[in-house]
C-alpha cells in the first residue's frame, strides 16, 4: 500500500490562487476527506494528484515516488467524478473493463476481474445496461468499480455523491467506505458536506482559500477546531463576538477564559449548542440560580433534541445564542421563560478578531 504526499503545492489560475503552498501526507490505506466551501481548491488539489493539472510549484508523490511530471495515464490512480462520467457508448461491464482493456490485459483475466468488481459494487444484474439505463446511484457505483479495476494505489473521489438524493447519498457513502476498507486502498475524498466528511473519513483536511487549515481526526476537528474558519465551517456553533478585558474573554456569568494569543480588543468565542447548560426557569423560592440570565425567544422541537433560541443580558447588550437540550429536559421550559445559562470554559474556544 502506498500513501500520497503533497509537498508545498501551489497552483494559480491567473490571479486566483487555487492552491497556496499545500502540504498533506495521506497515510497508506487511509481515507482522507478534503472538506471546504465551494471554490476553496479541493478539486484542484485532487486534479494535481491525478495529474490533470500540473502544479506551479511543489511536488506530488505517490508511494514515495515523485509523480509531479508523470502523465495521468501512467499514475497508479483511479478516479470518480462528481457527475457520472461513464462512457455513454459502453455498457456497465465495458465501462468497468475499460482500464484493463487499454492496458491490454489478457481476455480471461479481464473477464474474471470484471465479474469480481461487478460483484463488489453490486451491479452484476445491470452489467449489460448502458449508462442511460441505470440510476444515479448505480452509475456512481459503476464509476467506483471502474476506478478500482486496474488495482490503483490511490482512489480519488470528487464529490461522488453530490448529484444524488439524500437517501441514496447516505447509503452509498457507507458503501464507498466499506469498499475502500475491504480493498484497503488509500483514498482522497472531496466533499463540501461536513457530515459526509465526518462519517466517512479517517482524517479530515479542512481547506479554505487554497490552504489547508487543519488536518485531524473527525472527532478532533469537531471538538477542537484549530482555526476560526474550521470552527465556523465544522458543525453548527455559537459564535459570539466579545470585548477583551484584562486579558480575558468572558460572558459574565456564563464563562470566563483567558484571551488567546495575539488578541487585540475584540475576540470571537465559539461553543456548541449542546454544551450550553440551561438551568430551568428561575424560581422564586429564593435559591440563587447560577449563570447568565437569558430569555427563551423560541423553542424548536427537532425530535430527540430541542433547540432554544436564547437572548442573554450581560449588561453590555443582548447576546443571542442557541442551546440544544435533550427534548425531555426541555419540556418544562416555555417560550418567554427566564433561564440561566452556563458553559464549561473548557469547551469554549476563542480566536482573535
Amino acid at each position: 500500500m502506498s500513501g500520497v504526499s503533497l509537498v508545498g503545492v501551489s497552483k494559480s489560475y491567473g490571479s486566483v490562487k487555487a492552491l497556496d503552498h499545500v502540504s498533506i501526507d495521506v497515510c497508506p490505506g487511509e481515507l482522507l476527506a478534503l472538506l471546504g466551501p465551494s471554490g476553496c481548491g479541493k478539486t484542484t488539489l485532487l486534479r494535481c494528484v491525478a495529474g490533470l493539472e500540473r502544479p506551479d510549484k511543489g511536488n506530488v508523490e505517490i508511494g514515495q515516488r515523485d509523480m509531479t511530471l508523470v502523465p495521468t495515464r501512467d499514475r497508479p490512480i483511479g478516479m470518480v467524478f462528481q457527475s457520472y462520467a461513464l462512457f455513454p457508448n459502453l455498457t456497465v461491464r465495458k465501462n468497468i473493463s475499460f482500464p484493463l482493456e487499454v492496458r491490454r490485459r489478457p481476455r480471461k483475466e479481464i473477464d474474471e476481474r470484471v465479474d469480481e468488481l461487478l460483484d463488489l459494487v453490486r451491479l452484476s444484474e445491470q452489467a449489460e445496461r448502458y449508462p442511460k439505463q441505470i440510476s444515479g446511484g448505480q452509475a456512481q457505483r459503476c464509476a467506483l468499480g471502474r476506478a478500482l479495476a486496474a488495482n490503483p494505489e490511490v482512489l480519488l473521489l470528487d464529490e461522488p455523491l453530490s448529484a444524488l438524493d439524500a437517501l441514496v447519498r447516505g447509503r452509498l457513502r457507507d458503501e464507498i467506505r466499506r469498499i475502500q476498507q475491504r480493498v484497503g486502498i488509500t483514498a482522497i475524498y472531496v466533499t463540501h458536506d461536513q457530515s459526509e466528511a465526518m462519517a466517512i473519513a479517517d482524517r479530515v483536511a479542512v481547506m479554505n482559500h487554497g490552504r489547508v487549515e487543519q488536518i485531524a481526526r473527525p472527532d478532533e476537528i469537531y471538538d477542537m477546531p484549530a482555526t476560526q474558519f474550521a470552527a465556523t465551517f465544522v458543525g453548527s456553533r455559537n459564535a459570539v463576538e466579545l470585548d477583551v478585558r484584562n486579558g480575558r474573554v468572558a460572558i459574565p456569568g456564563a464563562f470566563d477564559i483567558p484571551a488567546p494569543e495575539g488578541t487585540g480588543s475584540r475576540a470571537i468565542a465559539f461553543f456548541r449548542p449542546e454544551d450550553v447548560r440551561v438551568s430551568g426557569p428561575a424560581t422564586s423560592n429564593g435559591r440563587e440560580a447560577v449563570g447568565m440570565p437569558a430569555r427563551v425567544e423560541l423553542k424548536v422541537f427537532l425530535g430527540s433534541t430541542t433547540r432554544l433560541h436564547l437572548v442573554g443580558q450581560n449588561g453590555a447588550g443582548p447576546i443571542s445564542l442557541y442551546s440544544d437540550l435533550p427534548s425531555h429536559s426541555a419540556r418544562e421550559i416555555d417560550e418567554g421563560a427566564l433561564v440561566h445559562v452556563e458553559i464549561d470554559p473548557a469547551l469554549v474556544q476563542a480566536f482573535p478578531l
Binding site: 478539486t43 491525478a50 490533470l52 502523465p71 495521468t72 495515464r73 501512467d74 490512480i77 483511479g78 478516479m79 467524478f81 462528481q82 457527475s83 462520467a85 462512457f87 455513454p88 457508448n89 475499460f98 482500464p99 487499454v102 492496458r103 471502474r146 476506478a147 479495476a149 486496474a150 480519488l156 470528487d158 464529490e159
Partner: protein, 304 residues
C-alpha cells in the same frame, strides 16, 4: 439552371427546415400550412426536372408534348457521363475521408489538449466561407505552379483543394458533436483510466461523436460533389459532374437533348445525395445534431 446549387444544398436545407418546423410553437394548422409551403417550394424544381428528363419536347405548353425513356437510357449508357460520375464520387469520397481524418484529431486537440489554439482553428474554419471559392482556387493554382508544377491540373490537387474548402463543414459538425457529448470530461476520465490519446480518440471520442461525423461527412461530400469554380480552375483536364453539366449548358443544343440529359444527371445527383441524407437521418435518429459552434457548451461547466 444552376446545377451545383440545386444539387448540393437541398438535402441540408430540408433537414434544417423539418427541425425548425418541429420546434415552432405555431398551431397545428399553421404548422402544416408552413410545412406544406416549404415542401412545395423545395419540390417544385425537382418535379420540373423530373418531368423534363422524361419529356420529348417541352417548350410552349404547361406540360411536355410527349414522354420518353430515351434520355435516361442515353445518359446511363454514356461513357463520358459514367466517368464524370465516378470521378465526382471518388473526389467527394476522398474529400470527406481526408477531412474527417484531419478534423477529428485537430478538433479533439484544440478542445481538450490546447484550448489556446481554438481561435486559430475556428478562424481557419471560417475562411473558406468568407472567400469566394474562385479566389481560393486561383491562389491554390498560383501556389502549386510555384511549389509543385507537376501537380497542376491533376486529380490529386483538386482533392487537396476540395479538402481545404469542405473541411469547415466537417469541423463545425464534429466540434458541435464534441460539445454535445462533453468530450473534455470523457477524455479526462479515459485518461485517468490509463488510456493513451490514440486509445481515447478511437474508443471514446469517435463512438460518441458519430452523429457529427456522419453529418459532417455528408456535408463535405455534397460540397465537393457540387463544387464547380475550383474544379474548373484546377481540374480543367478532368471531367466532374458539375464540369460536364456546365459544358452541356454552354453548348446550347437543345435539339440534341443535352438539356434533357442534364436533367437526368441532376436527378441522379439529387437521388445520390438524398439517399446519403436518409442514411444520416437514420443513423442520427433520436439524437440532436448540433451544427452550431458552442451548442451544448452549457454542459461543460460542471464540477467546478
Amino acid at each position: 439552371m444552376a446545377v451545383d446549387a440545386a444539387t448540393s444544398r437541398p438535402p441540408a436545407t430540408e433537414l434544417l427546415g423539418a427541425r425548425r418546423a418541429g420546434e415552432a410553437t405555431l398551431s397545428r394548422v399553421a404548422k402544416s400550412l408552413f410545412f406544406g409551403a416549404a415542401l412545395f417550394y423545395l419540390c417544385v424544381p425537382m418535379v420540373a426536372v423530373l418531368i423534363y428528363s422524361f419529356s420529348t419536347r417541352w417548350t410552349a405548353n404547361v406540360l411536355p408534348d410527349g414522354y420518353t425513356l430515351e434520355w435516361w437510357q442515353q445518359t446511363l449508357s454514356n461513357p463520358r457521363i459514367q466517368s464524370a460520375f465516378s470521378t465526382s464520387v471518388m473526389l467527394a469520397t476522398l474529400t470527406a475521408i481526408i477531412d474527417i481524418a484531419v478534423v477529428v484529431p485537430a478538433a479533439y486537440w484544440s478542445r481538450v489538449r490546447n484550448p489556446h489554439i481554438r481561435p486559430v482553428v475556428e478562424l481557419a474554419a471560417a475562411i473558406p466561407f468568407a472567400l469566394p471559392y474562385i479566389v481560393i482556387a486561383f491562389g491554390l493554382m498560383q501556389f502549386s505552379g510555384i511549389a509543385a508544377p507537376q501537380y497542376q491540373g491533376t486529380f490529386a490537387l483538386l482533392v487537396a483543394g476540395h479538402a481545404a474548402i469542405a473541411f469547415p463543414f466537417v469541423y463545425w459538425a464534429v466540434d458541435g458533436a464534441m460539445a454535445a457529448a462533453g468530450i473534455e470530461r470523457l477524455s479526462e476520465t479515459a485518461e485517468a483510466c490509463g488510456a493513451s490519446p490514440f486509445q481515447i480518440v478511437r474508443r471514446i471520442v469517435i463512438p460518441n461523436i458519430s452523429p457529427g461525423l456522419v453529418t459532417g461527412g455528408l456535408l463535405s461530400f455534397a460540397a465537393s460533389f457540387g463544387e464547380f469554380a475550383m474544379a474548373q480552375i484546377i481540374g480543367r483536364s478532368l471531367d466532374t459532374v458539375p464540369l460536364w453539366s456546365a459544358e452541356m449548358i454552354r453548348s446550347y443544343s437543345d435539339t440534341a437533348g443535352s438539356y434533357n440529359r442534364l436533367a437526368v444527371v441532376t436527378l441522379l445527383t439529387f437521388l445520390l445525395l438524398f439517399a446519403l441524407s436518409a442514411v444520416v437521418v437514420y443513423w442520427n435518429r433520436g439524437q440532436t445534431v448540433r451544427l452550431l459552434p458552442g451548442a451544448g457548451a452549457a454542459r461543460t461547466g460542471d464540477g467546478r
